[in-house]
């Protein structure tokens, strides 16, 4: 009973974070910031949902599989977002708020606007 409610709470929190990540996807000013918004759904959201589901499964092989899903997500999601951001950078997409000559990268922190 308590476990049930705990898992409902965790899954609801995870779903809420997923919605917030979606809102961030639309609210953020440019591509790179949107990547950060999606980072929320990649890490804490998926963790909360899988953790909540593992309470439903109890001590069984299904829990192990849920954990494996989480581990694979942990390894693949940074690779995916790195390849996205890296190709955007290679093709010359300048982040908002950073000077135009950014690829030469003489600057460390952006100028005050």
């Amino acid at each position: 009973m308590i476990l049930d409610w705990l898992s409902y709470t965790l899954i609801t929190l995870g779903a809420l974070l997923s919605v917030i990540g979606g809102i961030g996807l639309h609210r953020m000013p440019d591509f790179y910031c949107r990547l950060h918004a999606v980072g929320v759904t990649d890490t804490l959201c998926s963790f909360l949902i899988l953790f909540g589901l593992s309470f439903q499964a109890g001590f069984s092989l299904a829990t192990v599989k849920l954990f494996l899903i989480f581990a694979f997500l942990l390894f693949t999601s940074p690779t995916a977002s790195f390849s996205l951001s890296h190709s955007a950078w290679k093709w010359g997409l300048t982040p908002i708020g950073v000077r135009e000559d950014a690829p030469s990268m003489k600057i460390k922190v952006r100028e005050e606007s």
């Binding site: 950060h36 092989l61 192990v64 790195f82 950073v98 990268m105």
Partner: protein, 162 residues
């Protein structure tokens, strides 16, 4: 050799956990496929310190625990910024790697990307270009927020190889 034994036991555990059948027939299938996988990876020469860093396992687990706490904090921060409680001020910074071998570079860049609010977008020989969502995040990273908790043992075996 140590690597192959460790890979073999990991694969066997994985097989047992994923199959869920413990009769002799299924287990012998498992043994056969583990041996086949080991033979393939031996032919491809892909099992070494880089693909299977057993010398790091202890410190890596400690690192992941600290990292997950940092990821949790970063999540709360980014959620607040998405809702609009805190401002969004994108920054582009270059951070030197804490260690110079390839494996440490990959772990570091991946950790930076995994943390919401900062993403690595370009790798240079000695540093990584990071896009962060906030000024505070940029300062924290420059001051070595992640580099401080980085496992110190990471370079040992690489130096031994060279």
């Amino acid at each position: 050799m140590k690597h192959y034994i460790s890979v073999a036991s990991l694969l066997m555990i994985l097989w047992l956990l994923l199959s869920g059948h413990y009769n002799p027939l299924m287990i012998s299938f498992g043994v056969v496929s583990v041996c086949f996988t080991l033979w393939l990876s031996y032919r491809m020469r892909i099992i070494d310190d880089e693909s299977h860093p057993i010398h790091l396992s202890g410190s890596l687990i400690k690192y992941w625990i600290v990292l997950s706490y940092k990821i949790f904090l970063a999540n709360v921060d980014v959620v607040l910024r998405i809702i609009g409680v805190r401002p969004v001020e994108p920054q582009l910074i270059r951070i030197p790697f804490p260690k110079q071998d390839d494996l440490s570079k990959v772990i570091y860049a991946n950790s930076v990307t995994l943390t919401p609010g900062s993403a690595s977008i370009e790798i240079y020989p000695d540093s990584v270009l990071v896009h962060t969502i906030s000024k505070e995040g940029a300062t924290a990273l420059l001051e070595g927020d992640l580099a401080d908790i980085f496992p110190a043992k990471a370079t040992q075996s690489n130096e031994a190889q060279q």
